[in-house]
């Protein structure tokens, strides 16, 4: 990996480690303050495992007041703090710093209230995304945003990253599905924003916090909106002989007024890889595979599926299958959900990219990536949340070959730059973290970035909360790393990633 520039280490802080440890052990239960090398080892990295840093101390507070007391102490003593949820983030947002306290929200793991009457759940931030749905599904409710890592990622982390998922086009991302948050500011101030009401008045602080990657406050409570399950969900699995025809059908579906619950695309390399890996029964002759999922009332879904079918036929699809039952629908998804491990099985290493483009530019983007793949002589498999324009190219390479590694990084940066050129953005759902920090200037000029830094400064004037993340330290457009997976040894290899 390229060398990572981190904020200058404050030696004075490191020198007073003992003092810090002792004081923290007074603020919270001393058992929840970890400093021994063996104890803090698991916290050295998040799911961007290529980078590791040893934190000064790890603290695991148990309630909001403790978080406030810790932050107040750190604020007064000028100690940096890195917040961490489940550590499943792919952009290094929770990467520790040598001279910073790592504040783990792992003990905030309880659902506090399930309120069916007001259609919301009040929860602590360490609760996993999926367990919220589990807690309400007996009454046919669910929590809509479904990042692929939902079995392990925490809801607090989801708020920090504004996580999306497969169903974002219809149901929005985290920011559209939360009603309230409690946050603790760097100076220890506890602030409640929103509650069980729709919207809030005044400045939309919740909108600001959501997606702020742990730079503005520590999330200690979240109130999420829950939705009733749709009456029926059905899917279509469609193969296309060319990228152009598949891309054309995708655009036409949206243009015809259909808003699918989910719409996914895979290219030929990924069709073959996933079919080998998961025996999903995909049409291997297709250049492009499209999965369209629709939900609603029975007649509505059937009508829309008819429309989707006729659009696909018009665009010369080579195969078309409609799910007859729930089992078949899930089988359509089986291969798609195995996309990442399937790539891991094909090459010693892969980089997972994350960018967004306008849906209509899909063909252009895929052809550009194909061209780049030839230029860099590296294979790439593409999956794409086509409904919301979120692209995940997976570049395969051998990390032991330094030249290949260098080329891969260049390749990745070129893809993201192409996303911006096509009217998109450098990250769709993985966040900026440290991974894409230096690419921020592809999208923003100095004034744009300065405004964001001014907000940060107004809420954390000493720049102590998660410093070195999101905003370029040197303001240079360098080519930094992507998600680097070596010999399928992904951090949390069991987590589905798609």
């Amino acid at each position: 990996m390229s060398e990572l520039v981190l904020p200058k280490i404050d030696k004075a802080t490191i020198n007073k480690k003992e003092y810090i440890f002792k004081n923290l052990a007074k603020i919270i239960n001393s058992e929840n303050v970890l400093s021994h090398a063996d104890e803090i080892k698991p916290y050295e990295t998040d799911a961007l495992a290529a980078y590791t840093q040893t934190p000064l101390v790890v603290v695991m507070p148990e309630n909001t007041q403790e978080v406030s007391d810790i932050l107040k102490f750190c604020h007064n003593e000028n100690i940096k703090v890195v917040p961490r949820g489940a550590g499943t983030g792919l952009s290094g947002g929770a990467l520790p710093l040598n001279d910073a306290i790592l504040l783990s929200l792992g003990k905030f793991n309880k659902i506090l209230e399930i309120d069916f009457e007001n259609k919301c759940v009040v929860t602590q931030p360490g609760v996993t995304n999926l367990s919220i749905t589990h807690a309400v599904q007996h009454k046919n409710f669910y929590y809509a945003p479904d990042p692929s890592s939902q079995i392990a990622c925490s809801i607090g982390g989801n708020v920090a990253e504004n996580s999306g998922g497969v169903h974002s086009l219809k149901y929005g991302t985290t920011t559209n599905n939360i009603l309230g948050v409690e946050i603790v500011m760097m100076d220890g101030t506890i602030c409640k924003i929103g509650g069980k009401t729709l919207d809030q008045e005044g400045y939309d602080l919740m909108g600001l916090i959501c997606g702020s990657e742990g730079l503005l406050g520590v999330i200690t409570e979240v109130t999420v909106k829950i939705l009733k399950n749709p009456q029926i969900v059905k899917a279509a699995l469609i193969g296309f002989p060319t990228i152009e025809e598949g891309g054309g059908a995708t655009s036409e579906i949206i243009a015809s007024g259909i808003i699918p619950a989910g719409m996914e695309i895979m290219d030929k390399m990924l069709i073959e890889a996933t079919d080998n890996f998961s025996k999903a029964g995909y049409p291997r002759d297709a250049e492009l595979l499209l999965i369209v999922e629709l939900d609603g009332t029975e007649s509505e879904v059937d009508e829309l599926l008819k429309k989707v079918s006729s659009i696909c036929k018009k665009n010369n699809c080579s195969s078309l299958k409609l799910s007859k039952n729930e089992k078949e629908r899930l089988s359509f998804w089986a291969g798609r959900k195995a996309a990442f491990p399937a790539c891991g099985a094909m090459a010693p290493d892969y980089y997972c990219m994350d960018g967004s483009i306008p849906r209509g530019k899909l063909t252009e983007a895929l052809l550009e990536i194909k061209k780049l793949s030839k230029k860099y002589e590296l294979p790439v498999a593409n999956c794409f949340h086509a409904g919301d324009g979120n692209l995940h190219p997976l570049i395969m390479f051998d990390g032991s070959d330094k030249e290949q590694l260098r080329k891969t990084e260049e390749f990745g940066a070129e893809i993201l730059k192409a996303c911006v050129r096509l009217g998109g953005v450098i990250t769709g759902e993985h966040g900026v973290g440290i991974e894409k920090r230096e690419l921020m200037c592809e999208m923003f000029n100095n004034e744009d970035i300065q405004q964001q830094l001014d907000i940060k400064k107004s809420l954390d004037e000493k720049n102590l909360l998660n410093p070195g993340k999101v905003y370029p330290i040197l303001r240079k457009c360098a080519e930094e790393g992507r998600v680097h997976v070596h010999r399928n040894e992904e951090k949390f290899p069991d987590l589905p990633r798609f």
Binding site: N162, S168, E201, G296, E303, I357, G428, E429, Q450, S458
Partner: protein, 426 residues
């Protein structure tokens, strides 16, 4: 510097000390000048919602009305990019051509103020973030903004967001400027998400005075998977002569013969799916036991227009309040309001529009305290002429106020834009 000054002097300024810049660069140049001279400035569009918020003292006015027009509309990409002060009317007409719409149903505040439609601009709607009946289903305006360009209080041109739905690149400033009443940024360009227009709508009206039943029905509607896209309760008007008695006139429809209180819910889609939804709602809400009617599409469409035009409060001289609370607390508020106030409930039991007669101004404070107790918030939308009010326009606690002040300073360090419009002193 000389060139810059010269440029500014060329920007048209009328006798009311109002600047009329014609493009983003001119906006930036004017603001740089105002910043340098430390001149508090009122940002104005078409002025249709000017009555909302505290009155402000300003040395200058900055009209952004010339920044108007569609920049880019890609129906298949589900977005429209417009210059910030494009009239809403124009945008709606443009979307209509492609059977698309702004799904959040912008409120036409023209009826309250002038008695007729006057929709204002996109930037004006964004600055208020007050939306209509479909909110509980599709989100408010803040959920439909994809990106913006604008000029901050120092005169720097800034942008955030883009044209795609999924975007986690940097802080989501688009949300922050939504509902900020022009106190953070002079908006120059806005990109909004658009959605396909539903083909048809039908409305079921249920006649009832029973407030507990109303609350129960709201609960059942919001728990239903039949995708109800509007649910309001219109209670009988108070007898008091200080309120305008226009309910029967506003909701005059052939199939709505009932004169008392009623609940109305909207179902949208094509004919088959509407029938399917009505059938399942008949079971879920036990409609056969209730006194109900169905308004066909010819009545349903204008019915919801009238709701979202706030026509019940047309040209009111009284105070108008907007309260949002957790729906389960509705019964308590309905009990308090009784038949002493003119009000109606929207957003399936979450949103209350309440008219308080000018003679009972002190009641505004009392209602606000009750709403706070119930876990909600209250915004004063319109103040009667006789009301020398001390209440804050918004409900906000000290901590949030402090944070708001810091955020304001980060955008507008010298408090040039609309000082005190939202919170006095900020």
């Amino acid at each position: 510097m000389f060139t810059e000054m010269k440029k500014n002097s060329q920007i048209f300024q009328d006798s009311n000390n109002t600047y009329y810049p014609e493009d983003e660069l001119e906006v930036s140049n004017v603001i740089k000048e105002l910043y340098k001279k430390n001149l508090p400035t009122e940002l104005i569009g078409l002025g249709t919602k000017n009555f909302i918020g505290n009155k402000i003292q300003s040395a200058k006015k900055l009209s952004l009305s010339k920044l108007s027009g569609v920049v880019e509309y890609l129906p298949e990409e589900l977005y429209i990019k417009v210059k910030a002060n494009t009239p809403l009317d124009l945008v709606e007409k443009e979307l209509e051509k492609n059977d698309q719409e702004l799904a959040f149903e912008p409120i036409d505040f023209g009826f309250i103020d002038g008695g007729k439609s006057n929709k204002g601009t996109i930037a004006g709607h964004l600055s208020c973030n007050f939306v209509g009946s479909r909110r509980f289903k599709v989100g408010s305006m803040r959920d439909h903004i994809l990106g913006f360009r604008g000029v901050n209080g120092k005169g720097d041109i800034i942008k955030s967001g883009g044209t795609v739905v999924k975007n986690v690149t940097g802080y989501d400033l688009s949300k922050l400027v939504t509902g900020s009443f022009g106190t953070l940024v002079a908006l120059t360009e806005i990109t909004l998400k658009v959605l396909p227009k539903k083909k048809l709508s039908n409305t079921i009206t249920i006649n009832t005075e029973d407030k507990k039943l109303v609350n129960k029905l709201f609960e059942k509607i919001s728990s239903s998977s039949s995708e109800v896209s509007g649910a309001v309760y219109i209670p009988e008007e108070p007898k008091d002569e200080n309120f305008d008695h226009n309910k029967e006139m506003v909701f005059k429809f052939n199939d709505l013969e009932h004169k008392g209180s009623f609940l109305a819910l909207r179902i949208e889609g094509d004919k088959i799916s509407i029938n399917e939804k009505i059938k399942s709602l008949t079971d879920e809400l036990e409609l056969s036991k209730l006194d109900k009617t169905i308004l066909d599409v010819h009545q349903s469409t204008p019915f919801w227009k009238k709701i979202n035009n706030l026509e019940l409060f047309k040209q009111t001289k009284n105070n108008l309040l907007r309260a949002v609370l957790p729906p389960s607390k509705g019964v308590k508020l309905m009990k308090y309001l009784g038949n002493k106030y003119k009000y109606y409930i929207d957003w399936c039991g979450s949103l209350y529009w309440i008219e308080v007669q000018s003679k009972k101004n002190a009641k505004v404070g009392e209602i606000k305290n009750l709403i706070k107790e119930l876990g909600g918030y209250l915004t004063i939308i319109k103040i009667s002429n006789e009301y020398d009010h001390e209440e804050t326009i918004f409900t906000v606690d000290d901590t949030r106020l402090l944070i708001s002040e810091k955020i304001k300073k980060s955008f507008d360090p010298k408090r040039i834009f609309n000082p005190g419009k939202m919170y006095r002193g900020i």
